[in-house]
Subunit: 623 residues, 2 copies
């Protein structure tokens, strides 16, 4: 396979095309892996995330848009303004396939345009359009105007990637949006796109990636087998039935549903914001991304009342948790509305809700006199009109507007939880790893997550290793989530490597509940002609990617240390099944073992490890 | 008196000072009059309101900041983006006096800056500051940042004029804001300021205008007499007790409270949004502008609930009507909140609420199939997430954000009622004169207002002639509001001229309930040394100003015709004391008489009139 990479020079509004050779693809596959490799080579050490030196890689992978299942995804990679190290995020919908259909397998945004532009790509032809009229507009309005201009109103034809006002105003918790409701959410990369003056990308064309496969018939046979596995798995069925929010009750019952900004492990009103409740109330339809058989996406509508929301996609589990559990908002209609508005403004709904939870804690402490006096006064002055108190849904909704446009307290929320809490003099209120807000699983109640979080290369994240799958869901086998078990370390490491491949090839991670690395060997052989491909090579590829990402942090000189926030290691849970637990014991046990099997020392890859993975060219970073 | 005019060239970020001679001041006084004169001389015919050729005059008058009462005002004049003719508006608070204290009597903003700036004026010294960080921010946050920078946090010291996001995004219904809650609201001039790249002006200094008076002791004696008259008048007392919203019940009882976007003359829930109700609920204090003895301003707070609003000024009668009566929103807490947000975003609360009322009517008609099909479809698509239905307070609040930032339907609301209704194919839903939304008095129920509105030079406005004062309040004497009486014409014309002087000198129009032109003669004699000043000269000065304004429209070739919208002349009121009435009869009776006493023909001044008023230099416009 050849990977056609469109390089867009925003400074000069010019383009060129790089064709990457098969060797690079075999080593880095595409998506996340290829992005990490190119970013480490091309983004200079110390680059300002919002400066012209940063680059944004918007990449598909060799399976995207083919007859493989769940292959409707793309990956975004750049230096993150939230973490200061390599950032990346992944999104579904249909933009990934349409990007390939348009003639390119990936785009690199380089430099910086003086005036805002949007870019159309139609059958290989690239055009720059004036985006002054789009600047300041939400994602939905942006898509409408572009579709009006392109004359294509059928939303299944062509696809738009865009950034919202959050990104334009350089929020560190913005999300790259596509197909209205889809987000490459984490690490704030939309703001990097906006900093380059790019508002949107329209992708459309007639190229058929399936026709470029090595052995099309063989590939179809392999794909069918995988599809059946996925379709018939219980977790796939649960995701169809209740969406990702099926997890609300499950995680709450494990005492690992972070509530009141990680001050509790259970939320009394969890059922009120659960997938089951959603299915009984605002759910109007189920939907999937391009080529999906699971259909986990929700289509919801709130028909009346203060939180009236038109038919729209979501909300997801993480969104519900961050904006509900973390803030103690138990009104599901408000969360549907908040999700809608966050999508329109282009926020990472996890980081946004988690930062609001942090704000609520800070505000409470300000009123109680637990912040430095001058900071308390300033916080109250800036936030009193929003009144960010626990459970206040109206505060949440106002904060979406105020944060998108950086008005008053929103100016500080836009910076994310870590900077917010530091500014107001109470850093421990921000529960983050490497500056990124943790998602919806308390590692004090699911102890494998302590290792998953601490070692996640992009900061606090459940998608590098989703060890919830074995500690809670029993995939591939069930563990005691509170039991310290060395075997978990091996599984976390394996997931990290496997998922790095999954994010590069690219398919949906929900495949991994029902499939393993072995299920992709046939697809790679038939699809790409890698006749000698093995599970070992696949996992080694993932490991190579994982090390590349880590090297980026090592080179920056920070962000490679594997730590959890104080609240999780020093403060025990006051409630629920994990009452009295901290993450200290598990993490102290797991981390040395993890370093050992990774071939790392204190978070840094050892020379032998880089040699083994063929990363000699990057050894300068650790020497 | 000499009038020190600071000319600010934004293109070159330079300044110069013009000293206007006493002759010009005696002819045009200051404020509105001087602005009209300078604008007509300096703004070229056909200038783009948002182009560098337009100029913004921010002017005080000779009584501003003196020991005269109610003299805490300033006037803004420029070509209006809402009406396309001369726009002007007037605001209280303390900016006017502080501008004089800073060393200047007025400012002219000329040209256009590439980068946003804010301007500080301290004891005559002018500095330009980078305003990139302020751009996008609301008025309250802008004031906070500037005060932080100037190191003056006592809000009674120094004063800030600023524009909000509404103006930055060139809404045609934006308001020039000062002292957080004060607005030079009408005709959208804030957007002209923003179009020049100016975000704010800080004024501070030690100059004492009182010390520059001709005969200080004599002036104090004269002022005392006027103060006593004002303080002791019943209307002054009612304004203190219930604020301007004391009018809600009064006007509603006259069947002239425009309800449901002028489709009714009474609102069943009027009491719920009245000044009396406000005094019983959210009112926490009363406040006045600089040097005021009336204290009509409300200080309100909503302590809890969805519309929780911190201590802040307002709402006024017009705000309550436009956002309440016009939209049928009867929740006073929602109106307090809406007022707060409109101030922060920098909207003309009259035009904003009136445009929302228009939107609600259009939306209802779209759903009923009464709009052109494609327009109905587009409107529903753009507005369904807001659900702008009668009485929906949550729609109103969302629209403030969406309009400020021009998102979805807000992009159209930002253009004002006339353009909104025209775009969606139902122009009659916009009740306006010269493109400006009418305020809170239905002329079908108060028939003198038909003439006041139709002949108002700045478009639909109650402040050129407030004939409500005689038709309803009995000042100077009571008329039957439904009776067609020729005497009203003379009174409307006299008010227009007198008010033009009041807006130029400048004092608060609320003085005019208790004082007449004769009360200002002594002040002008002692204050400015105009020993031979007479009531006749005062009124002739006002007439001169009124003709100047009209000439601006004549020169532009439109906006001089005196018409009322169809709904008021062709559709009769369906309810209340004025049931069955239209404005047709009264206007047809009044207008010819009015033209006769004005010396106008079909809206245009006749040559003799210009000769009589000493406006020979502008005769080229009518020839």
């Amino acid at each position: 396979m050849r990977f056609k990479l469109l390089r867009v020079d925003l400074t000069n509004l010019s383009t060129k095309v790089d064709e990457l050779n098969g060797g690079i693809i075999r080593r880095y596959v595409g998506g996340r892996g290829l992005g990490a490799y190119l970013a480490l080579k091309e983004i200079p050490k110390g680059a300002d995330p919002f400066g012209p030196d940063n680059k944004v890689y918007i990449l598909t992978g060799p399976l995207v848009g083919t007859a493989s299942v769940e292959s409707g995804r793309y990956h975004v990679v750049a230096k993150s303004p939230l973490t200061g190290i390599l950032g990346d995020a992944n999104s579904g919908g249909q933009f990934g396939p349409w990007l390939r259909f348009s003639g390119y397998d990936g785009i690199v945004l380089e430099g910086k345009s003086e005036e805002p532009v949007w870019i159309s790509i139609v059958n290989g032809e690239v055009k720059f359009h004036d985006a002054k009229k789009l600047w300041g507009k939400g994602v939905f309005h942006t898509e409408k105007i572009i579709r009006d201009e392109m004359g294509i109103h059928d939303e299944s034809i062509g696809s738009i990637l865009s950034v919202g006002p959050a990104a334009e105003n350089l929020s560190r918790i913005s999300a790259v949006m596509n197909d209205k409701y889809r987000a490459a959410g984490r690490t704030g990369l939309a703001s990097v796109i906006a900093s380059k003056g790019v508002k949107a990308i329209w992708a459309y064309g007639n190229r058929k990636p399936t026709e470029e496969l090595y052995d099309r018939k063989g590939f179809f046979d392999e794909a069918k087998k995988v599809i059946e596995k996925i379709r018939n798995h219980d977790i796939s069925k649960a995701l169809y039935q209740f969406g990702t929010a099926v997890l609300v009750n499950i995680i709450n019952e494990h005492g690992a549903f972070p509530t009141k900004n990680w001050q509790q492990g259970t939320f009394d009103d969890a059922y009120e914001i659960s997938g089951e409740k959603l299915a009984d109330t605002y759910l109007k339809a189920r939907k999937g991304c391009w080529g999906c058989v699971i259909l986990c996406s929700r289509v919801s509508e709130v028909e009346e009342g203060p939180f009236m929301t038109p038919l729209s996609e979501g909300p997801e589990y993480e969104t519900i948790w961050a904006n509900g559990g973390s803030t103690m908002i138990s009104d599901l209609a408000a969360l549907v509305k908040a999700n809608y508005l966050m999508n329109d403004m282009g926020f990472d709904t996890i980081s946004f809700g988690a930062t609001v939870g942090t704000l609520m804690e800070l505000y409470e402490r300000a009123l109680k006199g637990e912040l430095p006096e001058d900071k308390a006064r300033e916080l109250i002055e800036l936030a009193k009109d929003v009144n960010p108190t626990w459970g206040n849904a109206h505060a949440l909704l106002q904060l979406i507007w105020m944060t998108a446009y950086r008005n008053r307290i929103g100016d500080y929320v836009a910076e994310g939880a870590k900077r917010l809490a530091e500014y107001f003099g109470y850093p421990d209120a921000a529960v983050h790893v490497r500056g990124m807000e943790l998602p919806a699983y308390d590692p004090r109640g699911i102890n494998s997550m302590s290792l998953s979080y601490a070692t996640s290369n992009r900061g606090g994240c459940h998608l590098r290793a989703y060890s919830v799958s074995f500690d809670v869901l029993g995939v591939p086998k069930k563990f005691d989530p509170l039991g310290v078990d060395e075997e978990k370390v091996e599984l976390v490491k394996m997931q990290q490597d496997y998922f790095a491949f999954i994010d590069s090839v690219i398919v949906c991670k929900f495949n991994t509940f029902s499939t393993g690395p072995e299920d992709y060997i046939g697809l790679m052989k038939t699809g790409l002609g890698w006749e000698d491909y093995t599970v070992q090579e696949l996992l080694e590829t993932g490991e190579r990617i994982y090390n590349l990402e880590r090297l980026f942090a090592v080179r920056e000189g920070y962000g490679y240390q594997d730590r959890l926030p104080k609240r999780l290691v020093e403060v025990s849970l006051p409630d629920g099944p994990a009452k009295g637990k901290t993450s200290k014991e598990a993490l102290e046990k797991y981390l040395p073992i993890y370093y050992d099997i990774r071939g790392w020392s204190d978070g840094k890859p050892l020379p032998d490890t880089l040699d083994r993975l063929g990363l000699e060219e990057f050894k300068y970073i650790i020497s």
